[in-house]
């Protein structure tokens, strides 16, 4: 019986082009160092991202109380069944969807407009960048505290709107009315993060070679057509990045809603999934149920990210 030849796929990634066995080349050695350098971050990522995800998935299958010393009871998918039959959870889904759509779409559009506005300035570019970005560096708690004062019935918001509309003495119930409190949370979030995404768009716009714009100008393209047919298609990767990032950010929103409810705003209209999850875990001590909520939120985020990636694959443009 002769020796069987070793199949080539066995050495895929190990064999250099020459096909010599056990003779890793320079590329391979470099790759090995690459692994060494990224290993700490991989371990870190696995420890602080993957472990909590798997732990939440595991915990979601149990009836577990946060303070109980008794071993948790395995209940399979009962937590998920409970949630899908719970009107409160569906209200949280509704609140999250309303907030996400109401925030991320305007944020995407306005950050793109602002980025174009800033890049088209010949002077004060840095000033505008700083001015729009500055709310993003404030902590969410500080932001919500400031806006609570602004939305107070005697605060700036009523005074300003009544001045503009010439309607003295009208209380627009920014925090007291179900619809208005949703708009208020959207406003706060939009104000805080629009500058952040504007900066990302600015980076995207700056990376488009000037020669392309110049060529388009020579061909007689006007400003609007230039933006729509040249800039926007070339900005597609940045747009996808911003849309995914802003959408995920909106789905995870918590601190604004939390602080507004602490400030007296009604809970139900703004009881987003994360706020419901927090109350379920911290107030009700039902950590198994809260874990199930977090897994559902994770799946929702995963699904929409996949959908956006899928939708963005067609008509790819390059230069």
């Amino acid at each position: 019986m002769g020796r069987r030849p070793i199949p080539v796929f066995f050495f895929k990634g190990v064999l250099p082009v020459t096909g010599r066995i056990f003779s890793p080349g320079i590329e391979h050695k470099k790759a090995r160092w690459g692994w060494v350098f990224i290993l700490p971050s991989l371990v870190f990522f696995a420890l602080f991202n993957f472990y909590p995800i798997f732990n939440a998935l595991y915990t979601s299958l149990f009836r577990k109380k946060l303070l109980s010393l008794k071993p948790p009871k395995f209940i399979g998918f009962d937590n998920y069944i409970y949630l899908f039959n719970s009107p409160d959870f569906w209200n949280s889904i509704r609140a999250t969807v309303v907030f996400t759509i109401g925030t991320f779409i305007p944020m995407l559009i306005f950050s793109l407009i602002l980025a174009n506005f800033i890049i088209s300035r010949k002077r004060f570019q840095k000033f505008f960048q700083m001015a729009y970005y500055s709310p993003a560096v404030l902590s969410s708690v500080v932001v919500a505290a400031i806006w609570l004062l602004i939305f107070d019935p005697r605060g700036l918001s009523n005074q300003l709107i009544n001045f503009i509309l010439n309607t003295p003495g009208i209380d627009h119930k920014w925090l007291a009315n179900s619809a208005m409190v949703q708009i208020s949370t959207i406003l706060v979030y939009f104000w805080k993060y629009v500058g952040y995404f504007t900066i990302i768009f600015l980076v995207g716009l700056a990376s488009i070679p000037k020669s392309i714009h110049e060529a388009a100008k020579i061909d007689g393209v006007n400003a609007w057509s230039g933006f729509w047919y040249v800039t926007f298609p070339l900005l597609k990767p940045t747009t996808i990045l911003v849309s995914i990032m802003s959408m995920l950010q909106c789905l995870k929103t918590f601190s604004t809603q939390y602080l507004f409810t602490q400030g007296g705003a009604p809970t139900e209209p703004i009881n987003v999934i994360t706020l419901n999850l927090y109350h379920t875990a911290i107030r009700d001590h039902r950590i198994g149920l809260a874990s199930a909520m977090s897994i559902i939120l994770f799946c929702i985020m995963l699904f929409f990210t996949w959908l956006q990636f899928k939708g963005s694959r067609s008509d790819e443009v390059s230069y």
Binding site: R63, K65, L66, L67, S68, L69, D88, F151, D152, P153, R154, N158, P168, G169, I170, D171, K173, W174, L175, A176, N177, S178, Q262, G263, G264, A265, P266, T267, E268, P269, H279, I282, R283, D284, H285, I287
Partner: protein, 430 residues
């Protein structure tokens, strides 16, 4: 050469020995971690007691850590969830009770706390005040404070509105509406001066007694049914609906909380609900107002058609000890608690906290405290706040019901239907 090595070895061994002794000595010192809520007046006296206790017990160090009262429940919970709770802490009983039923707390060490027996502890306190921390015939805590709320009145605001505070102060909730109407100053729909407003996050303390006055109950006597007597609940919800911005527009949870404004005496708040401790805070925040004699405290109002004479519920902050700490720590912690609580009169006179011992309630210090008789009278006609493992969640359901009628335009009937469903579901949870 051999001698040299031997000498070096001896020095090394001696060093190791002294190091071990030093480490052991350091380890033998017991550190007690004490978590409590912020209260500047209390911090002052408790830091002194810690110093005195450490002096008398050199083997103990006490680390006192404060958090905002709104954050305390969350911080203690997350610490215990990770089995890293402090040696001792205090929370409101509604939040604390879950720790008792989940075996997270140590029963009292009566000897360490300075009592000859557990019975002696019960005898030292007013009847029933230790019931919330008694579970399966064991005692798990001692009260740092027992608080009930009465009505604080700013005489200057009353006079400014053309009212006589001596006779026009509200005795009923109906009078409260009428008096608040007279005091309120509005710019269109926006209230510039409120007559009175509720303490909205604390629905169990002040709003359940209003339902009880009308003959309603939160939970049935057998503990199986939530929301008793629809008529009483509907009347209460109708009252709150009329109070809010869509009714008579006398107040709302979205305005700055009444208690904070009251101390400032800026002619924007006529009345508020608070405990005896509020007087100490007025003295600290606004000495001129405190010394002016232009404020007073009157009993908690009741409805004109009340069938029960309920005052605001009283709630307790109890000192408790972590059962997961070593026995030595537990013993020292109870000793420290016993030492602090032996200064009940100082807690009352300096901080305005009532530690409901028989001795204190009969003392001259208590009698000399401004308006202490009003608080005592109301405490006698009030009940302990609803406490159970689920009380925080039940409170949230009541909050949602009140908010829905006051702010969201829901009818009282619909709000009650939702409240019943949620409260019953919470009650039935295993």
């Amino acid at each position: 050469m051999g001698d040299y090595i031997m000498k070096r070895l001896c020095i090394l061994l001696a060093c190791a020995f002294f190091l071990t002794v030093a480490v052991n000595a350091a380890e033998s010192k017991t550190e007690i971690l004490y978590w409590t809520h912020e209260d500047p007046n209390r911090t002052e006296i408790e830091n002194r007691y810690i110093e005195e206790f450490e002096k008398a017990n050199p083997e103990v160090t006490i680390k006192r850590v404060t958090s905002p009262s709104k954050k305390m429940a969350e911080r203690v919970l997350t610490a215990f969830a990770a089995n890293q709770g402090p040696d001792m802490f205090n929370l409101q009983i509604e939040d604390e009770f879950a720790y008792i039923v989940n075996s997270r707390l140590a029963p009292i060490d009566y000897k360490a706390a300075g009592y000859p027996s557990v019975k002696a502890i019960y005898d030292a306190y007013l009847p029933k005040v230790l019931d919330p921390v008694t579970y399966e015939r064991k005692l798990y805590g001692l009260p740092l404070e027992l608080t009930n709320w009465c009505l604080y009145i700013n005489d200057r605001v009353f006079k400014d509105a053309g009212l006589n505070p001596d006779k026009d102060y509200p005795k009923t909730w109906e009078e409260m509406v009428a008096v608040s109407e007279k005091i309120a100053i509005r710019d269109g729909e926006i209230i510039k001066r409120r007559g009175f407003d509720f303490r909205y996050p604390y629905y169990l303390v002040s709003m359940i007694p209003m339902v009880e006055q009308l003959g309603g109950k939160l939970i049935s006597d057998d503990g199986k049914t939530a929301i008793i007597n629809d008529k009483a609940w509907i009347q209460f919800l109708e009252f709150m609906q009329a109070w809010g911005p869509n009714g008579k527009n006398l107040g709302s949870p979205t305005y700055t909380n009444a208690r904070k404004l009251f101390n400032k005496d800026n002619n924007d708040m006529g009345m508020c609900l608070s405990g005896l401790y509020q007087a100490g805070r007025i003295r600290k925040d606004n000495p001129e107002f405190y010394n002016s004699g232009e404020w007073r405290v009157v009993p908690f109002p009741k409805f004109a058609n009340a069938v029960k004479n309920s005052a605001s519920a009283y709630y307790g902050h109890y000192f408790v000890v972590n059962a997961q700490k070593p026995k030595k720590n537990q013993e020292m912690t109870w000793k420290f608690i016993g030492y602090m609580l032996s200064h009940a009169e100082a807690y009352l006179s300096k901080v305005g906290l009532i530690q409901p011992t028989v001795k204190l309630m009969g003392s001259q210090t208590f009698k000399d405290m401004p308006y202490s008789s009003v608080f005592k009278g109301d405490m006698e006609r009030g009940l302990i706040v609803y406490y159970a493992g689920n009380s925080a969640k039940i409170q949230q359901h009541i909050r949602e019901a009140v908010e829905s009628v006051m702010l969201a335009g829901s009818s009282p009937e619909k709000a009650l239907k939702n409240l019943r469903r949620k409260a019953q579901e919470t009650l039935d949870e295993k």
